[in-house]
Symmetry: none
Subunit: 192 residues, 4 copies
DNA sequence: TATGAATGAGGGTTCATTCAT
DNA sequence: AATGAATGAACCCTCATTCAT
């Protein structure tokens, strides 16, 4: 029952934080969403900040696990980049909430959990950087700062507009290819 | 004098909304920042939401003016794209808070001003789309949906990580070139 | 109106703190007692602690003024001690609230305002010490540590039981004489 | 084991009530102090008030036993008064928290247990009154209302300042003599 | 006996908003 | 135009208390 309650709280909180920035969500709403009393909410989480922190951290860790898995698989950098894009875009389509939580709370994260979350974020970038380095070594990716490239890839993938591109699309796969192509080749006309 | 007060309010509000999401900023703080009383604040703006709306709208209009100017100038699409990138990145570097205001308040905008602001946003994309169309016609840009391309360009330019890339950089021009190159050619190794 | 409101708040707060220890009094009750809203209460005082502080400090200062007045008057130490006792006992009879506030909140005072209030308390003892020193010089008071004597006098005067002695008494003057006699001569049978 | 738990609860509660007035102490803290769960705490005591009541009553009874013992011993009133003072001051020095519990909760006691505790208090005064009556009969104590005298003695002995006098003292015995002398002879210069 | 989980009323405090001056 | 004072709803959080296990 206890674990069930905690899960219900987290589900309710993620849902609300995904819609309405941290300050726009009240503990009362979270409790109502989880169908428990406010007292119970505070029995499971010491404070609103702590609750948010747990969500944010576990979200970051979730991506870290996914990315690490991709890196450790056998395969070319090309395959891994495709995996990476598919993995993020699938998350975007299937379970957008965590990403929206981050988007809605950039300032909060920066002001309160900057140190720890920035660290986790840099770790995630670091994992992706491995793929880029492999790609450079394989002659598949241009020889620029791999960390910058990893950063800009995640930037594009985690951007609200990317989500919007998918939302309105009749053919999702086609949009995914568009994004992949953009990441790989940019917008210029290729002439080879 | 009246105009002066209103300007001071807007300056104070932009500064605060750029740091601390809408719900994290109080009218008291805005009034204090503008060095006026709360009564005066409410004399100039009917409500907090109205104040925010004015800021968001004028921010959008600001970019609309800049982009339209670029489009209407004589020149190739290549020059215009370079202009566009420089224009946005300069705004980023000059630290025009309005961008942070948007970033911190995506959810508020989505929930409250979606219709009107989305319209303005689409107008801005539309302006940039003109450049892309010109580029496609000139054989400079690949033949994909020009609206999608415009969207993804603005996405990359208006992203916090892009700003961060510039912040930490020793050589800003070099980073600008990096972003320009990324937009044009992506991350793959070019082989021509 | 503003000053009036502040006075009403203080009156309400003193009354309640005199009956029910700090933690037993709510800001809601204080506001209700003053017939204002809680918002107004917080407009005048930043916090509950701050409100209490103001009451405690002003109470101390009140006695400091009274005691200083007595010390500075012309007269023998005997007259001054009588004045002192009458002054405190009159306050006990007329306006017990402030004293009860102190009594009900010894622990709070010790834990929170110890430094400042202890200082004020020592100042008050210091003023009374002047009288004792004069008494010793005049050969009227025994030659012991004047600070200790001043302390024990104020102790007896400010004690709840002293108040109780007066409460139940048919003849208040007689009880006052009893206390005066106790302070001067103790409980032993005098044999001169 | 059951007895052990109850004792641990009482010890924890006395310690906390001695530091932080009734309303400033939570049942959670008491349970934590006793290293038991809140459920267990409520198994042993029906309510917070009931727990406090038990502490207050047993404290009163403790002094009643001590005082009765003194009264019933053979000896002069002088010896008994010395015994009484020593007994209370030793308790003060040994830092029996129960005295601080009373001091911190005068208002609570007055508002809730007035009838029963006042009765017990009057019983204690009554026991001391026996000593005073003996003293008057022996010509050792002045011929005033013995109940008033007993009241004022306990007042002085149970006062926080009395404890403070002892706390700071280099020579405790000397301070005890000072208090004894004050009780017996007051502050005036003796001329016999 | 003992526990962890749950409750809901109430605590201090903040805040957008109003209004007489 | 501008202000200070007032309002009351809502907010985060604590607490005494209960109860199934």
């Amino acid at each position: 029952m206890a674990q069930d309650t905690k899960t219900r709280i987290l589900t309710s909180a993620v849902e609300l934080f995904a819609e309405n920035n941290y300050h726009g969500v009240s503990m009362t709403e979270i409790a109502e969403g989880a169908e428990i009393s406010k007292g119970t909410l505070y029995w499971h989480f010491d404070s609103k900040k702590e609750l948010f922190r747990e969500i944010a951290f576990s979200g970051m860790d979730h991506f870290n696990r996914l990315f690490t898995e991709i890196v450790n698989k056998e395969g070319t950098s090309k395959e891994k980049i495709k995996n990476l894009i598919e993995c993020v875009l699938e998350t975007l389509v299937d379970n957008l909430n965590i990403l929206d939580v981050f988007r809605n709370n950039i300032e909060l994260i920066n002001n309160n959990f900057k140190d720890t979350l920035e660290l986790k974020h840099q770790q995630n970038i670091g994992v992706v950087t491995n793929i880029i380095e492999q790609g450079i070594a394989e002659g598949f990716i241009k020889d620029a700062d791999p960390n910058d490239i990893a950063t800009i890839i995640l930037t594009v993938l985690f951007t609200p507009q990317t989500k919007k591109l998918l939302d309105g699309a009749e053919n999702v796969d086609q949009k995914i290819d568009f994004i992949y192509d953009f990441l790989m080749n940019g917008i210029s006309r290729e002439e080879h």
